[in-house]
């Protein structure tokens, strides 16, 4: 099973790498490159969506349990959300960041092949599981795009902060929804809507970070380089909450240890 997953991931990486090359060329010459970029992106999305659907049916559980499985979702959601937001906001500036983010997270899976099994611990067998985790991953995808755009502009000595802030205005509500859904689920499962578990505390720290960025937006807009740096750096807290928390001493007392692996 993991062999099939590895090969499909490789195919998607190939599609999106091709799409990224087309997107770079489309910046100089419009027309056929745009179409090729869209086609390769859509093909990769179909393959990845099909893989997730197949895994869901084959495993008999939502493929959202391990870090490797969440990276698959992240790759799909960053490209999907990036595409929708680019269309709604009428910008092409998201095309490369979304493809790079999606490819990067699939490459992590290629480098660390995962084992997949059908087990799912009792606490995760809840109707809240899928909406809570998918919403969180969607928010991470949108916030990741904001950080990628900010970093790109920072490196290219750009000063336009409009798009990264727009993305945070979309990502923070999603983050808040994920936090609320998690609290309601925790109350149903354990009787505590907030237990200061290490993962919960990191989720709060992530939320605080982005709430602070939004509250400082007006002043940060007048210092665009600082704003881009703050937006790019804020994503480190998301990564801490998602991956790195599993390597901290606090994980010994966490009830979220099923996210390891």
């Amino acid at each position: 099973m993991s062999g099939v997953v590895w090969w499909v991931e490789l195919l998607v990486v190939a599609c999106w790498s091709l799409a990224a090359i087309c997107a770079s060329l489309a910046a100089a010459r419009a027309g056929a490159w745009h179409t090729a970029c869209r086609a390769a992106t859509a093909l990769g999305l179909c393959l990845l969506g099909g893989l997730l659907l197949w895994l869901w049916l084959h495993l008999g559980r939502p493929p959202l349990r391990t870090l490797g499985e969440t990276r698959l979702w992240y790759a799909m959601l960053s490209v999907t959300a990036g595409g929708i937001l680019a269309w709604r906001l009428g910008t092409t500036a998201l095309r490369l960041p979304m493809l790079i983010l999606g490819t990067l997270f699939l490459c992590l899976n290629l480098a660390m092949p995962q084992t997949l099994d059908k087990t799912l611990m009792p606490a995760l067998q809840s109707p809240w599981f899928v909406p809570h985790v998918v919403d969180y991953l969607l928010s991470y995808a949108v916030l990741g795009l904001s950080a990628a755009v900010a970093l790109w502009r920072l490196l290219r000595r750009g000063t336009d902060v409009e798009l990264p802030f727009r993305l945070i205005h979309a990502g923070l509500p999603l983050l808040t929804i994920g936090l609320c859904l998690g609290a309601i689920w925790a109350k149903e499962a354990w009787g505590h809507y907030w237990a200061w578990d290490p993962k919960e505390t990191w989720a709060l720290l992530t939320w605080i970070t982005y709430v602070c960025v939004i509250h400082a937006e007006r002043d940060l807009r007048s210092r665009p380089r600082l704003a881009l740096g703050v937006i790019a750096g804020s994503f480190l807290v998301v990564l801490m909450c998602w991956f790195l928390v599993n390597h901290l001493p606090s994980t010994a007392v966490s009830v979220h240890t099923y996210t390891k692996g």
Partner: protein, 391 residues
Amino acid sequence: MSDAPRGLKPAVLFAAIFLGAWVVQMLRPDLALHLPDSPWNWLGTVLPVGCGLALGLLRPEAAVTRALASGWLAIACLLGVAASCWPIAVFPVGVAAPGWLHRIGLGDPLSSLPFVAALAGVAVNLAVSLARRLRCGPDRLRFSVVHAGLLIAVIGGAAGHGGLIRARFILEEGGSPGDAVVAEDGRRIRLPVALVLDDFVLERFPPMLLLDDGGRLSRGETLLGPDATDSMQGLDIAVRSWLPAAAVVGGRPVPFREPGANPAADVVVHADGREIAAGWLHPAGPLGIELALPLADGRTLHMESPRPQRFLAQVRADGRPVEVTVNRPLRVDGWAIYLLSYDEKLGPASRTAVFEAVEDRALPAVYLGIGLLLIGVLAHLWRPVTAGSRP
């Protein structure tokens, strides 16, 4: 200082108060602030927030109101919360917190003076800014709904914590009915129903293979059973015989149909099409020792203990039979009784179940706050997603 952000002064003032609170906490590391029991807990939280609301409504343009409602004060207070609660995110506080955390006053972060000061700052800032902007119009409405939701949830959570009753207890199969339990704070309390545990049921997934390569463990992907096959690390493993419940007698597994008995599998291992090992696998458990299969290359094949799939307690509440499972607590008269755990050493043979009874009178307030917050953020989400202007 001419281009300093507007509203920075109250943030600087708060930072000074916060640092002062931290110094006091460092000088008196044992100082712990807890909310009193109900109804004083409500007074302690609603009073400052009520004052903030009154100030924002009656004197919206006064200098002190503008200072208390400033965005930078919100940032300072939120950073204060983050700065005082981070040890929980990093260290196993309450279990094995490092000594230096106590020395810097954060041995028990949630009852520390700086944390309480920061949380109070957040609540007052929310109340004043909400009251100042309680006017209609789509933007103001979104702001008001989000901030009102957050404020209600924070008040409900903080005040509710003071009046929360939580009692963990163990029931044993066949025990006599009981409704008296000891709460977390040592008080003896009576539950609204007398409970008896009739049966505890643990269903498990079939086990999986585990390959030990000098301490590095790799897990198989297949749930084992009759005729199951799996491939891992260049090995092809096939099950020849399967005992769904077994015990090890004289070094060999024999059928043993008792709750808690683990399965056993007779497997054959091939590498490059050549048979390299064959024998029985059985995980260690309460009813027997482990049988593992050493391979010629120094690796060892094990059978992992089956993982829990579902556990439930069949209880009688005042004589009425009910089933309590994880994610589905028993609710009676404002109490919720959760099934938390069981005797994990015995697994399916466990005759005891661990429950927790929780009475949280402030829960409706918290859920009202969460509901408003969700409505508000959905409205916020609608705006950037649907805005068509080119960034």
